[in-house]
Symmetry: C2
Subunit: 228 residues, 2 copies
Amino acid sequence: MAVVLYDLVGKGDRRFSPHCWRTRMALAHKGLDCEARATRFTEIAAIGGGCQTVPAIQDGERLVVDSWEIARYLETAYPDRPSLFGGPGGEALTRFVQSWTAAVLHAGLIQLIILDIWQHLTPEDRDYFRDSREKRFGRTLEEVQAGREAKVEDFRQSLHPLRMSLRDAPFLGGEDPLYADYLVFGAFQWARAISPFQLLAADDPIRAWLGRCLDLHDGLGRRAPGYD
Amino acid sequence: MAVVLYDLVGKGDRRFSPHCWRTRMALAHKGLDCEARATRFTEIAAIGGGCQTVPAIQDGERLVVDSWEIARYLETAYPDRPSLFGGPGGEALTRFVQSWTAAVLHAGLIQLIILDIWQHLTPEDRDYFRDSREKRFGRTLEEVQAGREAKVEDFRQSLHPLRMSLRDAPFLGGEDPLYADYLVFGAFQWARAISPFQLLAADDPIRAWLGRCLDLHDGLGRRAPGYD
């Protein structure tokens, strides 16, 4: 029986949640069949079980909420499948990659694509998104995204730890990807789903890694609707 | 027989190299006796064996140069001692922590303490340091360090991935430290050795982790001459 992933969706079946993408890649990494069930922001409460955020997965009788809890659950429940962490040290340091992804990558990206997200939401979700995000930023979505052509330079600079790490190996996980790669990939997949804005310079070596990630698991990421 | 660590030194036996500190902590983590041999910048060439940088270690007949090569050597040569990486995933992701340490932590720190370093060098090393660093920055040491009271705010902000990771565990490595902790600790130990400047706000939770690191291995870091 396939694992159900409650997967955030916008207009035109755009799957744009970075947190859902990391889970979707983790399920594929474990070789599990996945039904990625399209879920709008305003439908999350209807998942039940007290679930208030996505991703959430239903694996048989078990509902697991929160991407990190899901990753740990999958690693424990499917120990004979390829590891997401590559051992206890890998699991611990994956938390650092996750923290960097949140504090640097997501925090930088949101200011470049927040209006693009809104434009790709269904009408039911637009008010919720605008209200909650404008309250968080204390500015309109238009103001947050303004001037992105200049701001993108700082964003590109902030990716340098990623760029350096990829000098010596094809993936953050080494020769093969680990969950840490999916954490970072999820952020780029977020942008790809809903924004035509060019995040990376044409000669950025991160592009080669991104291409490898898009090809993983029979092109799971590349087949999803988005901007290329 | 103790492993010899060629360890960068300034005036008053200040051991200030972040790269040497990560190696010194790694040797202690492996439970190896270490003779940390004081080495000035201008004495590095005399180590021999083509060595041009420190840290370098002499373990019996074997000379190993470069902190990453040393860490890998120790993990391979002493597999029955506590692991520096916690498995293959840990080793791969340690590279990401190392990249972040170089690109964010060291790059930020050097601009806050570069003149303090010069002031703590022996007369023999001062000209070498000033010439090579002023060429690299295209400015005087005084100009690079100027305005640090304002710049430190950005530096503190840039530490947020570290801060977030330490919310859930006492060390980056989890319940116990791994080499990844020593990478980051080395940067703070660099500053501590030669600078009275307050890097962290009084209420920064990173301080608790730093205290734990200073206490490790019988207070190896805390016993070293420095500013507290």
